[in-house]
C-alpha cells in the first residue's frame, strides 16, 4: 500500500479544522452537564446557530458579526429548553429531542432565502513569519479566528471549572442540587446560565460549519454533528482537556478515513491480530499497575486471546484487503464505545444530579 501521498502535517491541520464545530458544541454541553442538566438538543441549537450566523454574515458582510449572531441564536433557542426544564420542570430527554426537531424546522424556515448564497470569507489570521515555520506553521498558525477561539475556550472552561468560585458552585449544583440549594445557591439560576452558555457554544459550532468549513447554507447541513458533540462529552468523562482530545480523535478518524480512500490504502488483515495482542498486554499492564489480583479464569481467557491474536497475525501475514467504506465510517463510533468502556474503569463519572429534575420543595 502506498501512504506516501498522505502528508501528516497537512492532515493534522485538516483535523484541527474538522474538529472545531464539535469541539465548540461539546464544550458548551460539557458545562451544561456539569451543572446537572442533560440537553439533547445540541443538534437543533447548532443548526439554528448555523443559519443565524450565515444570515447575519451575508447581510452585514462581516463574519464576526455572524458568529456573534450565531451565539445569540443558539442561546435564544436554549432559553426555550431552560424554560421547559427549569421552570415547567419537564423531562430533559424529551425536551432536548423536541428542541432538536424544532431547531431543524426553524432553521429551514429561516434559511429559505439563503440557499446558493456565498457568505463573506472567513480569513485566516495573519501570524506573519510564524506561518512559515516548518511543521508548526501549517498545523498551528494557518487557521481562522474561530479555531483559536475554540482552543482558548477549552482552556477557559478548564480553568473556570477547576479554579473559579463560580465553577465550584456550578459543579456543586451538578453533583447534588439539593445540597447546593441547602447551602443557599440559586440552583435554577446557575442552570439557566449554563444552558444559555451551552446554547451559545453550540450556535458558534454550527456557524463554523456554515461560515468557515463548508461555507454555505443548506437545510440539515449539520448532519448529526450535534449528536457527536454529545458523545464527545461522555467520551471525555466531563473533562475539558479530554474534550479537545476526543474532538481531534473524531475529526481525525473522519478525515483519515477519506484520506485513506483517496490514497487507495489497503488494510493489513494481520493488524487485527496485533491489535488483539496489544489490547491483552494493555489490560495485563493495567491490572498489574493497579496491583489487582487476576483470577485463574481471567488468566486463561487472556492467554488464549493473546495467543489467538498472535497466531492470526502470523497466519494472515502480508494479506491486504481494500478498506470497506462502511466499516471505516463506523469506526469513530465503535472507537467511542471502546473508549467509553475503558473510561468506565476510571473513577470519574457523570455529575450526580445529571438529568434529574430539581424543585425547591422536593
Amino acid at each position: 500500500m502506498d501512504l506516501s501521498s498522505i502528508d501528516p502535517v497537512v492532515l493534522m491541520a485538516s483535523v484541527i479544522v474538522a474538529s472545531t464545530p464539535i469541539l465548540l458544541a461539546a464544550l458548551g454541553e460539557l458545562v451544561v452537564e456539569r451543572a446537572g442538566v442533560l440537553n439533547l438538543g445540541v443538534e437543533g441549537m447548532m443548526i439554528t446557530g448555523a443559519i443565524c450566523g450565515f444570515a447575519i454574515a451575508v447581510n452585514t458582510g462581516s463574519p464576526l458579526l455572524g458568529f456573534a449572531a450565531a451565539a445569540a441564536g443558539g442561546a435564544a433557542l436554549s432559553l426555550l429548553f431552560a424554560l421547559l426544564t427549569q421552570f415547567a420542570l419537564a423531562n430533559q430527554v424529551a425536551s432536548g429531542l423536541a428542541l432538536t426537531l424544532f431547531g431543524l424546522g426553524l432553521s429551514a424556515l429561516l434559511g429559505q432565502g439563503y440557499v446558493g448564497v456565498k457568505p463573506p470569507p472567513t480569513a485566516a489570521l495573519d501570524f506573519g513569519p510564524l506561518t512559515d515555520l516548518p511543521v508548526l506553521g501549517r498545523v498551528l498558525f494557518s487557521h481562522d479566528l474561530m479555531v483559536y477561539v475554540a482552543l482558548g475556550l477549552v482552556a477557559a472552561v478548564w480553568g473556570f471549572l477547576r479554579f473559579s468560585r463560580a465553577g465550584l458552585i456550578l459543579r456543586a449544583v451538578g453533583e447534588s442540587h439539593d445540597a447546593a440549594h441547602a447551602l443557599g445557591y440559586k440552583v435554577v439560576r446557575v442552570r439557566v446560565l449554563a444552558i444559555v452558555f451551552g446554547g451559545a457554544c453550540a450556535g458558534l459550532g454550527g456557524a463554523y460549519i456554515s461560515l468557515a468549513r463548508v461555507p454555505q447554507w443548506t437545510e440539515g447541513m449539520t448532519a448529526g454533528a450535534g449528536w457527536i458533540a454529545l458523545a464527545l462529552v461522555v467520551f471525555a468523562s466531563w473533562k475539558a482537556g479530554r474534550v479537545l482530545l476526543g474532538a481531534w480523535l473524531f475529526g481525525g478518524v473522519s478525515v483519515l478515513q477519506l484520506n485513506l480512500q483517496a490514497a487507495g490504502a489497503q488494510f493489513p488483515v494481520a493488524s487485527l491480530g496485533w491489535i488483539t495482542l496489544a489490547a491483552c498486554a494493555a489490560y495485563l499492564g493495567y491490572v498489574l499497575w493497579q496491583r489487582q489480583e487476576i483470577s485463574g479464569r481471567t488468566r486463561v481467557i487472556l492467554g488464549v486471546t493473546a495467543f489467538a491474536g498472535a497466531a492470526f497475525s502470523y497466519w494472515r501475514q502480508g494479506v491486504y484487503v481494500p478498506f470497506q467504506v462502511e466499516y471505516l465510517s463506523m469506526s469513530p463510533y465503535l472507537i467511542t464505545i471502546v473508549v467509553l468502556v475503558i473510561m468506565s474503569f476510571d473513577k470519574s463519572r457523570a455529575p450526580g444530579s445529571l438529568g434529574r429534575i430539581f424543585h425547591a420543595s422536593q
Binding site: 424554560l83 430527554v93 424544532f102 429551514a108 461522555v234 467511542t336 464505545i337
Partner: protein, 360 residues
C-alpha cells in the same frame, strides 16, 4: 411572583385536561405561524387535525394513522419500561434498523420458496436482531458500568452504516440492475406483512402494538417485575435493599425494548416499506422516545400519544401537499406541540400559587 407548589398526588383533573389544553395552545400558536407564512390558519389547522379523521379522504387516512402509529407505539412501549427503571435506551433507532435487517434477511434467505414458516421465522429473527443489538449496551453497562445512553446512541450510527452495507451488498436485489436496495418483500407473498383485514391498515405490526400495550399494562399493574421496575426508578437504593437484582433488570429492560424495536423494524420492512434500502429508517426510534414521554410512560397514554403523533405527521403531510406549506413549517409545528405538551405537564404535578417571596 408565580410559585410552583408540589402536589402530594398528581392531579387527576389536570392529567386529563393538560393534553387537550396543549393541543389547543399549539393550534393558536401554530395558526399564528401559518398566518405569518401567508396561509389561512383555520384551513391549515383543519387540514392537519380534522381532515385525516373526518375529511373527504378519511377512508384512506384513518388506516394510514394506524400504519404510522404502530411502530411508534411498539417501540415506545419497550422504551417506557426502561425509562421507568432509569435505564436509558435512546438507541431504539439502531435496534429498529437491525431488526429490519435480520427480519428481512431471514425472509430473503428462503426466496423464492413458498412456505408457511417463513413469516413467523422473520418475526423471530427481527425480534432477536433488535434484542442482540440492545444487549451490547446492556452487557457493557452490567459488566463495566458503561453509560448506556451513549453506547446505544453510538450504535445507531453503526447500524446505519450496516444498513448501507446490506442494501449495497449482501441483501442487494440481484435483479435490481445494480441499484441499492433489497428485493421488495411486498412481492414475495410468504414474507409479506400484509393487511390482516383488508382496507383497515391493520397489519401484523399494528396487532403486535396493541398486544404490547396490553402486555405492558398487565406487567406494570400486576406483575412483580413491573413493581421492581417502578421501584428501581423511584428509589434505586430502596430497590436494592428490597432485593431487586438491578443487573438482571438492565438486561430485561434493554432486551425487551430492543426486541420490540426490532419487531417494529421487521414489520415495517416486510409490510409498508417493503424493502431494505439505504434510507430505510426515518427516525421512528427517536420519535418513539418523545411518544413515550408524551404518554407519561403509561401504556394507554403511549397508545394515545402514538396516535396523536401519527396524526400530526399525516395531517402535516396533507397540509404540505394540499396547501403547499414547506416541510420545515410542519416540523416547527410539531416541535411546538411537543413543547406545549411537555410544559403543561407541570400543571398535573404542581399547583400554581401567587406568592411574594421568590422561589429558588
Amino acid at each position: 411572583m408565580l410559585r410552583l407548589e408540589h402536589r402530594p398526588q398528581p392531579s387527576a383533573r389536570w392529567t386529563w385536561l393538560a393534553p387537550p389544553l396543549a393541543v389547543l395552545i399549539t393550534m393558536i400558536a401554530g395558526g399564528a405561524l401559518f398566518a405569518a407564512l401567508g396561509k389561512n390558519p383555520v384551513d391549515t389547522i383543519r387540514t392537519i387535525f380534522w381532515d385525516p379523521l373526518f375529511g373527504e379522504f378519511a377512508f384512506y387516512y384513518r388506516p394510514q394513522l394506524l400504519v404510522k402509529a404502530a411502530p411508534l407505539i411498539l417501540i415506545a412501549i419497550g422504551l417506557s419500561l426502561g425509562f421507568r427503571a432509569g435505564i436509558w435506551n435512546i438507541g431504539a433507532e439502531g435496534q429498529y434498523i437491525v431488526g429490519a435487517i435480520t427480519g428481512a434477511g431471514a425472509g430473503l434467505a428462503f426466496y423464492p420458496l413458498d412456505a408457511w414458516f417463513i413469516f413467523p421465522l422473520m418475526i423471530l429473527a427481527g425480534a432477536l436482531g433488535g434484542f442482540l443489538w440492545a444487549m451490547i449496551p446492556a452487557v457493557l453497562r452490567a459488566r463495566f458500568g458503561t453509560n448506556e445512553i451513549l453506547v446505544s446512541l453510538m450504535l445507531v450510527y453503526v447500524a446505519e452504516q450496516l444498513l448501507a452495507k446490506m442494501a449495497l451488498g449482501l441483501l442487494r436485489n440481484p435483479e435490481g440492475r445494480g441499484f441499492p436496495g433489497s428485493r421488495n418483500l411486498q412481492q414475495y407473498a410468504p414474507a409479506h406483512n400484509a393487511e390482516i383485514i383488508a382496507n383497515t391498515g391493520i397489519h401484523w405490526g399494528v396487532l403486535a402494538a396493541f398486544i404490547a400495550v396490553i402486555f405492558a399494562y398487565i406487567l406494570l399493574a400486576r406483575h412483580v417485575l413491573g413493581y421492581q421496575i417502578k421501584l428501581t426508578g423511584q428509589a434505586p437504593r430502596a430497590a436494592r435493599f428490597a432485593g431487586v437484582n438491578t443487573e438482571r433488570l438492565v438486561f430485561i429492560c434493554l432486551g425487551l425494548s430492543g426486541a420490540l424495536a426490532g419487531l417494529a423494524g421487521m414489520f415495517e420492512v416486510a409490510g409498508p416499506a417493503g424493502q431494505i434500502s439505504i434510507e430505510f429508517n426515518v427516525g421512528y426510534g427517536f420519535t418513539a422516545i418523545i411518544v413515550a414521554f408524551l404518554g407519561r410512560l403509561h401504556p394507554l397514554g403511549i397508545q394515545l400519544a402514538g396516535l396523536l403523533m401519527a396524526l400530526t405527521y399525516i395531517g402535516g403531510e396533507a397540509a404540505e401537499s394540499s396547501l403547499q406549506l414547506p416541510a420545515a413549517a410542519i416540523q416547527v409545528f410539531q416541535g411546538m406541540l411537543l413543547f406545549f405538551l411537555l410544559a403543561v405537564d407541570v400543571l398535573s404535578n404542581f399547583r400554581l400559587r401567587l406568592s411574594r417571596t421568590e422561589a429558588a
